[in-house]
Structure formats: structure tokens, C-alpha cells
């Protein structure tokens, strides 16, 4: 039965996408066939912060379809960038218009199929939409117009998003997300325009598409892009606000990962967690150098700007309250509790006081260092305990990186530096021994594991 569990859950997701079952029916079915605990995670399907089995089998399809169409489209862009002087402009327009039409007609023919050809149809539709974007620049080239070029990306985004919903297509959603980020980034850095609405557009248009389609790839893309877009909006208000806002946003992902279990999209848990941990560790590591910048002046940010700064705080507070109050989402085992504690430690000890105007730069640096160290040890423990080599390697690399990072700015005495490296060396040796021992024991207990 267990062997069929992933297949069944992928099928449920597909039935949802095709409208065969409703959200409520999907929730009931998911509850009847709960997510299989990742074989090497050591238990606690809802205890740990995101280690349940994930994958609806569409990650590869969507990503390769998107990449293939994007690279082909890039080839077309470069072909026309040559700007064939002997080719009449009407012929150029006809070639681009015809290609768009052809790609979409072929896409429609294949998209009707219920088998593998459906993916091909989606890719062809995506190619048509990429050619449409190429066409915008081609028309500008033919008529030599030098318009406000981020508008081209906005127009392209609208085309990709609308087809993403109409088909529906996760690959179009990914393209739309990239275009939205490009538009907002160019407006922010090239034209110094403040565009907080970009992150709201993502929240209101891309995230619902990802949920509707149960598309992990699109959800991951949207979750990575959201802090980026939010940062573009915050950048114009003041660079010092970036760190707390990003920590709050990413911190909320951990809570949302826990809450996702009770949604009709449980696979979202692993996506939320994976994105959150990557971004969070990056932020904590940066914080171990810069600490928490002083948040003086936040109260002087006018109107919508202040709202823009406070929304992540409200979101994180609500999410974590809901996570901790609901018994179904509360962390149950010690590993999950420790991980939750590390997230809340940063949010409560560093971000919260900073937002109230407390100058916490030095203390913040200390907390970030401690948190990064504890994460490394947690990964080392998890890797050795459950025989997960990759997690163990990550933990060891984090430990070494932290020691190297603090080499110059913490340990002034050569003796202290030498002791740290000796200890680290011994620790890594011991970890290696323990991992080998645990692995041997596992093999003895479960010869085919």
C-alpha cells in the first residue's frame, strides 16, 4: 500500500487539476491516504519542519519544458537581434506573427490530450508566449522606438499570466513570475521607481495559480520571488529595513509549512520548508556579519510605505500564532521544536526589538552566529541519526564556513584560532566516525535499506 502512496497522491493532484474532484474531496482523500513519511527522516510526519515526502512528479516536466521553450525563444531573439537588413519589415512581422500562431495552434492540438502529449502542448503554448515577448522587442527594433522598456516586460507578464490561468499552465506561471521580477527590478534599479504593488500582484495572481494547480515548481518560484519583489519595494524606503522585512517574510514560511498540512495541498509543506530553509540560512549567515541594522526612522516612513513595512510583521505574527495554537500544526518532536525555537529566537530576540527602535546590532550579530552554529549542529545530528549523508555534509560545511568566517573578526589570538581549528577538526573526525557507525548499524538492521 505504502508503495502506491506517492502515485495515488500524484493522481489526486492531477484529478484536482483536471476538475474531476473538488478541493473538499481532495482533502478527504489526502486525509485517508496520508503523506508517506520520508523513509530516512526518522519519523514525525507532522512533527518535523518539512521532511515529508514531496513530489507530484511534475517538477521535472515543468522545469524542463520551461527551460527548453525559454532557450529556444532566446535563440529566436538572437536570430532577430542580427536585424537582417535585406529582410523587409513586413516579412519580419509575418514570421514572428506566424510563429506565434503556429506554436499556439500546435499547443492547442496537443494540450487536449490526457497523456504525455499534454506536456508537449503546454511547452508549445509556452514557446508561443515567449515568441510574443520576442515580438515586442522585434517591433521596437523594426520601428526604432525607444520606449520605457520595462513596460515590454509588464505586457509580456500579462500575456503569460493570462494564459497561465486560461490553459491552465504552471510553466506559464513560472515565466510570468520571472517577468514580474524583471519588470519590478528594472523599474526599481534602472528608473528609481517604487513598486510595492509588484509583490501584491504575485500574491494575488501567481500563488493562487500554484495552489489551484498544486504546482510545486511554480510555488517554489513564487516563494523565492516574493521576498525579492518585497525587497525591491522596501529598498526605496531605506536599505536598513531590508533585513528585518526579509527575516519576517521568510520566517513566516516555516509556519506556513506547518499549516500547509491542513490545506488541500499538503505537498506545499515541503516546498515552503525547502525555500524557507535556504533563504533563512542565507539571511542568518549575512546577519552573522552585519547584525541587525538600526531601524531608526521607521515611524517617519509615510503612509503606504509604513504599511508595506508592517505587513510582514503582521503576517508572521498571525502565521506563528495559528501554527502554535493549532494542535495539528504544532511541532511535536524535539528536532522540530528546536528548529521552531531557532526561528522564533531570531524573530523575538532580534527582529522584534529592532522594529521597536532598540539598537541591537552587536547582540543581533551574536544571536545570528549562535543560531547558525545550532543549525549546523542540528544538521549534523540529523544526518548521523537518520543516515542522511547530504544533510550531514551540509551541517559540516556550515560549521567549517562559520569557523572560517569568524577567523579574522572574532579570534585575535593565534592560540585561540588554533584551538578552534583543532576542536573543529576533532569534531568533524568524530562526526565521520559516528556516521559510519550508524550507517553500518542501519545496514545490519535493514539489509536492503
Amino acid at each position: 500500500m505504502d508503495n502506491n502512496n506517492p502515485w495515488l497522491r500524484a493522481e489526486i493532484a492531477q484529478w484536482l487539476r483536471e476538475g474531476i474532484i473538488t478541493d473538499e474531496q481532495a482533502t478527504t482523500l489526502y486525509a485517508r491516504y496520508p503523506a508517506m513519511v520520508y523513509a530516512r527522516s526518522g519519523g514525525a510526519s507532522r512533527g518535523g519542519l518539512g521532511r515529508s515526502y514531496s513530489g507530484d512528479g511534475r517538477w521535472g516536466k515543468v522545469i524542463f519544458a520551461a527551460l527548453g521553450a525559454a532557450i529556444f525563444g532566446m535563440g529566436v531573439i538572437l536570430f532577430f537581434a542580427y536585424n537582417w537588413a535585406d529582410m523587409h519589415r513586413y516579412l519580419k512581422l509575418a514570421v514572428v506573427g506566424g510563429s506565434i500562431l503556429l506554436a499556439h495552434i500546435a499547443g492547442m492540438a496537443f494540450f487536449q490530450a490526457k497523456d504525455q502529449r499534454r506536456s508537449l502542448g503546454e511547452s508549445l503554448h509556452l514557446l508561443g508566449t515567449i515568441l510574443f515577448g520576442t515580438g515586442i522587442w522585434l517591433v521596437a527594433q523594426i520601428y526604432h522606438f525607444d520606449a520605457h522598456y520595462p513596460d515590454g516586460f509588464l505586457l509580456w507578464f500579462v500575456a503569460a499570466l493570462s494564459l497561465g490561468w486560461a490553459l491552465p499552465s504552471a510553466a506559464h506561471g513560472i515565466l510570468a513570475t520571472v517577468l514580474l521580477a524583471l519588470w519590478a527590478g528594472l523599474e526599481t534599479f534602472e528608473f528609481q521607481r517604487h513598486l510595492p504593488q509588484a509583490s501584491w500582484i504575485l500574491i494575488c495572481t501567481i500563488l493562487p495559480l500554484a495552489r489551484w494547480q498544486r504546482a510545486n515548481s511554480l510555488l517554489a518560484m513564487a516563494l523565492v520571488s516574493l521576498p525579492l519583489l518585497y525587497a525591491f519595494g522596501v529598498w526605496r524606503l531605506g536599505e536598513q529595513f531590508l533585513m528585518p522585512v526579509l527575516l519576517l517574510l521568510v520566517g513566516s514560511y516555516f509556519g506556513l509549512a506547518q499549516l500547509a498540512m491542513s490545506l488541500a495541498y499538503p505537498a506545499a509543506k515541503s516546498v515552503f520548508y525547502s525555500v524557507a530553509i535556504v533563504l533563512w540560512l542565507g539571511l542568518v549567515f549575512v546577519g552573522s556579519f552585519i547584525g541587525m541594522p538600526s531601524q531608526q526612522g521607521m515611524s517617519t516612513v509615510p503612509g503606504f510605505g509604513l504599511f508595506h513595512l508592517l505587513v510582514p510583521a503582521l503576517l508572521t505574527m498571525t502565521v506563528w500564532l495559528a501554527t502554535l495554537l493549532r494542535s495539528s500544526s504544532r511541532p511535536l518532536n524535539s528536532e522540530a521544536r528546536l528548529e521552531t525555537g531557532l526561528v522564533l529566537m531570531v524573530l523575538l530576540l532580534v527582529v522584534l526589538p529592532a522594529m521597536f527602535g532598540v539598537d541591537i546590532q552587536g547582540f543581533g550579530r551574536l544571536v545570528f552566529n549562535v543560531v547558525f552554529l545550532l543549525y549546523s549542529l542540528l544538521f549534523v545530528y540529523r544526518g548521523t541519526e537518520h543516515g542522511r549523508g547530504k544533510i550531514l555534509s551540509l551541517g559540516c560545511i556550515m560549521l567549517s564556513v562559520l569557523a572560517l568566517a569568524r577567523f579574522t573578526d572574532l579570534f585575535h589570538s593565534l592560540l585561540a584560532r588554533s584551538s578552534v581549528f583543532l576542536l573543529l577538526g576533532i569534531l568533524l573526525f568524530v562526526i565521520g566516525q559516528r556516521y559510519a557507525k550508524q550507517n553500518t548499524r542501519r545496514k545490519l538492521e535493514k539489509p536492503r535499506a
Binding site: I77, F80, A81, Y82, N83, W84, A85, L93, V96, G97, I100, L101, H104, M108, G128, T129, F132, G135, I136, W137, L138, V139, A140, Q141, I142, Y143, H144, F145, D146, A147, H148, L155, A159, S162, L163, A166, L167
Partner: protein, 338 residues
């Protein structure tokens, strides 16, 4: 239902491109064809290939040429403005005035304020500042226009102008007159001579500009200049926020005299040396009653030297006279910038 929506969206993609292209094709076919003189530079756009970036005289509009209801200082970046054009010789048009509302009559280009208004000029772009060429052909254009060490020949681009002020580039040709520019900076000895700013020291410390006007056409043409070099004027770029203008106004209404005419055979060059330390080239800041040499009061400012053909009295027949204006590369007393 869903299939219908997909079909509608696919058609809207084609419709969107059709609108972008059709609007410009309509202007190209039906709009009025004019020429604008430019000073090109040539970068590359990774999305669209080689192009020539064009700079027109009407990209930097003097505050004196602004006649809008909104105060010029209140014009924000992105504000829509209208440049009313007046015809010059050879169908080359020049700016008459800039306004914040569409002129009731006449030919005008619709543009947007491209940067914050600082100093004495309003920066405006009209969406016609790029001319795309086939990859590799930009090199030929670059060779033709010349480089900073030699004579530069400005392009004159053909622009179709629609009734709503939309401009569409369609072709280009070359000016018949080219300009060469050289800046001779004072020797270190001249700079270390003294701390006194008397007129002799100023002359010693000021750069000397050597300007060459060359007939690059294959027919004879005439230009005009006199002892005071009234054919030339100094123009501040105003990009540091200061509003500077030439203090000497004796040449502001330069009218053509028979004696000032200079014949240039094909390939022939007219060369002048202009010492920026002479009172003829002193500048004054808006609102100030004093003037001084640029080496004294505007060492960080950028300027252009502009050759402007004189006005011709009615009844005078000078068919070979080259009319219009030609700007040198930008320079500052610290060295050339363009």
C-alpha cells in the same frame, strides 16, 4: 468555454503586437516626413542587436524655450511634454518651443521629461533615440561619422511625425558639414605662474579650442564667420544644476554680411582657434550681474561650442550657404568629456 478563452488570449497576443506595429506603420505611411540633426554614439542592446544611440538638440531644452503652464522646476520625471518644431533649410527641423500641453497647431513631437529638471535645461526623450542596424553595419556608420580625433559628421534622421506627436524613425542621411574639435589645455607652467586672476593670467590658464568646419559633401558650400567669431557660441549643458549662459550678447543677432561669407570647396576645412579666457567667452549665472571666464567660475561645468549659421536678410540670395547649427563634443576646462 476554456478553449474559447485560450483562443481569445492567443489572438490578443497577435493583436497587441499588431497594435504596436500598426500604430507606427500608420505614422510612417501617413505622417509628415522631417529631418532632425543628431550627434550619434553607438552601443549594443543584447535583446535587439546593434543600434546607434541618437542625441538631438531637442533632448536638452533651454528653460527659455519652455512655454508650459506648469513651472519648469515642477516638471517631474516622466511628465509628458510637447516640442513644437519649426522648419529649417533642407527639411531639417529645429525646436521652436517646448510646452506641457499639445500645441493647437503646427508639427510637434510628444516626449517625456527623462530626468529631474536641473540647472538651465529640461532633459526630454521622444522615443526616437535609437536607430537599429544590422549587426556589423554599425561599424560603417561609425567610420562615416568620424571619431573624436578627426572630423565628426552628424546624421540627419528622417522622422515621420503623426498628428498626435508620435515620431517614427525611418531612414537617415549625412550632414554636408562636419565638425572637428580639439582642446589645447594650458601648460603646467602657465598654471603655476601666479595666484592672481588678472586678465592675462586668465587667458594663459584657459583652454584654447580649435574648431574645424569641413565641407564633407561633393559640392561647394558657404559658411559665415567674422572677426569676433559670431558664428560660434558657447552652450552650457547645465547638468550640474547651474544655469549658465554666455555673457557677451553682441553676437546674439548675427546677420549675414557679404564679407563674412567663406567658400568651402569639397573637402576644404575652415579652422578657428578660440581662447576661452577672452571676455567674448565669459559666462554669467542666471540672476547674477557679473561674468567671468569658465576657468574661474565654471571649472566643473560641461559646455559645447555651437556653430550657428547667421540669419539672412530678406532679398539676399545665398543658395550655397549651409544653414542650421552644428554642436561640438561636450568639454570642460579639465579636459574633453564626450
Amino acid at each position: 468555454m476554456r478553449k474559447g478563452l485560450v483562443v481569445a488570449l492567443v489572438l490578443s497576443q497577435l493583436g497587441g503586437l499588431g497594435y504596436l506595429a500598426g500604430q507606427r506603420e500608420w505614422v510612417r505611411q501617413r505622417g509628415e516626413q522631417i529631418y532632425l540633426r543628431t550627434a550619434p554614439i553607438d552601443p549594443r542592446d543584447p535583446m535587439r542587436g546593434d543600434y546607434i544611440r541618437l542625441r538631438y538638440g531637442l533632448n536638452a531644452v533651454d528653460l527659455a524655450q519652455y512655454r508650459g503652464k506648469t513651472a519648469s522646476t515642477a516638471l517631474s520625471r516622466g511628465a509628458v511634454v510637447y516640442a513644437l518644431l519649426k522648419a529649417g533649410p533642407d527639411d531639417v527641423y529645429e525646436l521652436d518651443y517646448l510646452s506641457d500641453s499639445a500645441p493647437p497647431s503646427g508639427l510637434y513631437l510628444r516626449g517625456r521629461v527623462s530626468r529631474e529638471v536641473l540647472g538651465g535645461q529640461i532633459p526630454v526623450s521622444y522615443g526616437i533615440e535609437q536607430y537599429f542596424v544590422e549587426q556589423g553595419r554599425g561599424e560603417g556608420i561609425e567610420l562615416k561619422r568620424g571619431d573624436r580625433e578627426g572630423v565628426q559628421i552628424p546624421m540627419e534622421v528622417a522622422v515621420a511625425v503623426g498628428s498626435n506627436g508620435l515620431g517614427v524613425l525611418s531612414a537617415y542621411r549625412w550632414s554636408r558639414l562636419g565638425i572637428g574639435f580639439e582642446q589645447i589645455n594650458p601648460t603646467p607652467t602657465a598654471l603655476s605662474n601666479t595666484l592672481n586672476w588678472d586678465s592675462a593670467t586668465i587667458t594663459q590658464r584657459s583652454p584654447v579650442l580649435v574648431v574645424s568646419l569641413q565641407n564633407v559633401s561633393d559640392t561647394e558650400l558657404k559658411i559665415a564667420d567674422n572677426d569676433k567669431h559670431c558664428g560660434f557660441s558657447l552652450q552650457s549643458l547645465g547638468d550640474t544644476g547651474r544655469s549658465l549662459s554666455q555673457a557677451d550678447k553682441s553676437c546674439s543677432s548675427y546677420v549675414l554680411r557679404e564679407a563674412d561669407m567663406i567658400n568651402l570647396a569639397p573637402g576644404e576645412v575652415y579652422r578657428v582657434e578660440l581662447n576661452m579666457g577672452l571676455p567674448r567667452w565669459y559666462v554669467t549665472e542666471r540672476g547674477s550681474s557679473t561674468s567671468s571666464a569658465i576657468v574661474v567660475s565654471a571649472a566643473n561645468e560641461r559646455f559645447r561650442l555651437v556653430y550657428q549659421a547667421p540669419s539672412v536678410l530678406p532679398g539676399m540670395d545665398v543658395p550655397l550657404l549651409w544653414r542650421g547649427s552644428l554642436a561640438s563634443p561636450a568639454f570642460s576646462v579639465r579636459g574633453r568629456v564626450d
